[in-house]
C-alpha cells in the first residue's frame, strides 16, 4: 500500500494554512500626480506587494498543496485526466505562435496553415466535413453546435422549440439548450442504461430541434441502436448532436460522422491531452456535416492558391469567442495529434478501454452496467460515495467522480485513462479496497493526509466569503 502525505504549511497561529498574499505583504498606494486629471482616477490601490522570492515561495507552496496528473492517478470519470505531454507546452510557446489576432491573413499564413491542418485532422478523426476551432471549451462547443442547429432550422423556416437530452447526459447539455432558448425534454434511460427507443420515439417530434447524445454514454456504454436513433431524429426533421466528452473511447474504432451525427464538439483536453490547468483553459472545436458548414462561426480558414485565408461562411452564426478561441490550447492539440498519428491515437483508445476494464475487475464495488469502454460506474452501495472519495484521498490517488450519473446509486464514476500502468491501476484498486473495508465513522473523518482536513461546505454556502475583503469585514 502506498503511503501518502500532501505537503501543508500551518501558520504559527494555527488558524490557517499558507497565509493569503494580502496577509503577507499588503501595500496601499495613493494615486497622486498621475498624468490624468484627478477626477478620472481612483484615490488609492491596495494590493499584495511581495518581493519576488516571497512570491515564488508562496506559489510553490500553493502548488504543493495541489494535486495534478503528475502527482498520481486521477481517475475522475467523465473528465479524462490523462497525462499531458510536456513537449506540447514548448510547441505552444514557439515565438512564431505569439501573434496578435488583428494581423491581416497574409501576414499570419503560418497560424492559418496550422489551424487548417488541425481542422482537417479533427474532421477526419470525427468523420465530419468541416470543423471550427473557435469555441474556447467543450460547453462553448455545445453552445456553438446548438446555435448552428438553430440557424439551420431558421434558415429552413422551421423554427423548433425543443432539445431532447437523455437523463444520463452532462449537465452542460441541459444548460446549453436552455441558453440557446430551447425547452429541454429529458429522456429517461432504458433499463440497460442506454437510450430507450420507445421513449425516444415518444419524445421526438416536429418541435425537436436536436437530440444531444454522448456515445459511449456517461456509463461508458455504446449506444448500439445509434442508427435507429439517428433515423428517428432525422425523420422528425431534427439534428443529431454528438457530445465529444467520451471520444477518447472510440478513436479509430468509430466516428460520430459515420454514426449519423450532424454536429459534434471535441473536448481537446479529454481526447488530445491538453492540460486542464485546474479548471481551464480548454478548447471545444465543433465539427459539422457539409450541409451545416455554411452556418459555422466567422471566420473560417480555407485554402487558397498557395496559401490560406479567412472567410465568412454564407449563413454564419457569427462569432462565439472574441477572437479565434483558445489558440495556445489548439497548438497543443495539434502537437499531440501529430505526435501520435493514426496508430498512436487508436492505441490510446485501446489502452484507455483496457485500463477501465482491468480496473473494474479489481474494484470491490459492483458495476451494474456494461459492457463499458473507457470508464465504468461502480456503486458504493451502502457507503456514501462522497465519503468513499474522501477516504481515497488518503491513499495518494484522486477519487472518481461521485454521485453522478444518478441512475447508479452512490455512483463512483471511474476513468483511469490510458496513462496508468498496470502497477498504478493496482495501486488504485488497493485504494478502493482499503476504503471499501473502512467503517463509516473512519470515512466520515477522512481525509487526514491531505493539505487540509474535510472542508465544511455548508458554512461556505450559508455565509459566502468570496474575497479577502469579505474575510476582513467579518473580523
Amino acid at each position: 500500500m502506498t503511503t501518502y502525505s500532501q505537503a501543508s504549511w500551518t501558520d504559527e497561529d494555527a488558524e490557517r494554512y499558507e497565509p493569503l498574499l494580502s496577509e503577507k505583504a499588503s501595500e496601499r498606494v495613493d494615486i497622486e500626480d498621475s498624468p490624468l486629471p484627478e477626477e478620472l482616477t481612483r484615490d488609492s490601490l491596495e494590493l499584495p506587494a511581495p518581493a519576488e522570492p516571497e512570491l515564488a515561495r508562496h506559489y510553490t507552496r500553493l502548488s504543493q498543496m495541489n494535486y495534478g496528473v503528475e502527482s498520481g492517478p486521477f481517475p475522475l470519470g467523465s473528465c479524462t485526466m490523462k497525462y499531458n505531454p510536456s513537449f506540447t507546452e514548448d510547441v505552444a510557446a514557439l515565438p512564431a505562435a505569439a501573434v496578435h489576432p488583428d494581423r491581416p491573413d497574409r501576414t499570419v499564413q503560418g497560424t492559418l496553415g496550422l489551424s487548417h491542418r488541425l481542422q482537417e485532422y479533427l474532421g477526419r478523426i470525427g468523420g465530419m466535413d468541416a470543423v471550427t476551432l473557435q469555441p474556447p471549451a467543450g460547453a462553448a462547443g455545445e453552445f456553438t453546435g446548438i446555435r448552428i442547429a438553430k440557424a439551420h432550422h431558421r434558415h429552413n423556416d422551421d423554427e423548433r422549440s425543443e432539445v431532447v437530452i437523455p437523463d444520463s447526459a452532462h449537465g452542460t447539455n441541459f444548460a446549453t439548450a436552455a441558453m440557446a432558448g430551447y425547452d429541454v425534454v429529458e429522456l429517461p434511460s432504458g433499463e440497460d442504461g442506454r437510450v430507450d427507443i420507445d421513449a425516444l420515439d415518444a419524445a421526438v417530434g416536429e418541435e425537436t430541434a436536436a437530440l444531444m447524445l454522448t456515445n459511449p454514454n456517461t456509463l461508458g456504454l455504446f449506444e448500439r441502436d445509434i442508427e435507429r436513433i439517428a433515423d428517428i431524429v432525422h425523420d422528425a426533421g431534427g439534428l443529431l448532436y454528438y457530445d465529444g466528452a467520451n471520444l477518447n473511447a472510440l478513436l479509430g474504432r468509430a466516428r460520430p460522422g459515420d454514426m449519423g451525427f450532424d454536429v459534434m464538439h471535441y473536448n481537446v483536453h479529454k481526447t488530445f491531452a491538453t492540460p486542464h490547468g485546474g479548471g481551464g483553459p480548454g478548447a471545444g472545436p465543433v465539427g459539422v456535416t457539409e450541409g451545416l458548414a455554411p452556418f459555422l462561426p466567422d471566420p473560417h480558414v480555407r485554402r487558397t492558391d498557395g496559401g490560406y485565408e479567412y472567410y465568412r461562411p454564407d449563413h454564419s452564426i457569427g462569432k462565439v469567442h472574441g477572437y479565434y478561441g483558445n489558440w495556445p490550447v489548439l497548438v497543443k492539440t495539434f502537437a499531440y495529434i501529430a505526435r501520435l498519428g493514426d496508430s498512436g491515437l487508436a492505441d490510446a483508445s485501446a489502452k484507455a478501454v483496457l485500463n477501465a476494464n482491468y480496473l473494474a475487475e479489481q474494484v470491490p464495488y459492483e458495476v451494474p452496467f456494461g459492457p463499458f469502454h473507457h470508464e465504468f460506474v461502480a456503486s458504493a452501495g451502502e457507503q456514501d460515495a462522497a465519503d468513499v472519495a474522501k477516504g481515497m484521498l488518503d491513499h495518494g490517488v484522486h477519487p472518481p467522480t461521485t454521485k453522478w450519473p444518478e441512475i447508479v446509486d452512490e455512483a463512483l464514476m471511474t476513468e483511469p485513462t490510458e496513462g496508468e500502468s498496470r502497477r498504478s491501476l493496482d495501486q488504485l484498486a488497493a485504494a478502493f479496497e482499503a476504503v471499501h473495508s473502512e467503517d463509516d465513522g473512519t470515512l466520515a473523518s477522512a481525509p487526514r493526509r491531505t493539505a487540509a482536513g474535510r472542508i465544511d461546505q455548508v458554512s461556505a454556502a450559508r455565509s459566502p466569503r468570496l474575497s479577502w475583503q469579505a474575510l476582513d469585514s467579518d473580523d
Binding site: 454521485k403 461546505q457 455548508v458 454556502a461 450559508r462
Partner: protein, 127 residues
C-alpha cells in the same frame, strides 16, 4: 428512520405541509423533505403580497448539492414571510414544522385542503 409527521397538518405529495389557523394557512416543508435535502444553505421565498396558486412552485430551497422547488399546498396571498430563514436557513433542518416555517398565506379556498394528504396518508407516502 422515523420522521415527524404531525397529525394536525395536511401534506402535499411533494413534501410541503400546511397548517391552518382560522383563515390563515402556514406553509413549510416536512421533516422528511429536510432530511432528504441535507443541510439547507439557502431559501428563496416570495414577498408579502404575492399570490400563490395551489400546486404551483413558489420558492426554492437549496442544499450544497441539490435544488428543490417548493410547491404551494393552497392558493392565497402571502401575509408573512419567515425572514429568519434568510440568515439562518438551518432552521428548516432543525425545526421544519416550527421555526423553519416559510410563509403565512390567506386561505382563498378552504376546499383546496380536501385535496391534500392527511397525516396517515403522508406517512404511507414516505414509508
Amino acid at each position: 428512520m422515523s420522521f415527524d409527521v404531525p397529525d394536525d397538518h395536511r401534506y402535499l405529495e411533494s413534501h410541503e405541509w400546511v397548517r391552518t389557523d382560522d383563515d390563515t394557512a402556514r406553509v413549510g416543508i416536512t421533516d422528511f423533505a429536510q432530511d432528504e435535502l441535507g443541510d439547507v444553505v439557502f431559501v428563496e421565498l416570495p414577498a408579502e403580497g404575492d399570490d400563490l396558486t395551489a400546486g404551483e412552485g413558489f420558492g426554492v430551497v437549496e442544499s450544497i448539492k441539490a435544488v428543490s422547488d417548493i410547491y404551494a399546498p393552497v392558493s392565497g396571498t402571502v401575509t408573512a414571510v419567515n425572514e429568519a430563514l434568510f440568515d439562518r436557513p438551518e432552521l428548516v433542518n432543525e425545526d421544519p414544522f416550527g421555526e423553519g416555517w416559510m410563509l403565512d398565506v390567506t386561505l382563498a379556498d378552504e376546499s383546496e385542503l380536501d385535496d391534500l394528504l392527511g397525516a396517515d396518508a403522508y406517512r404511507d407516502r414516505i414509508a
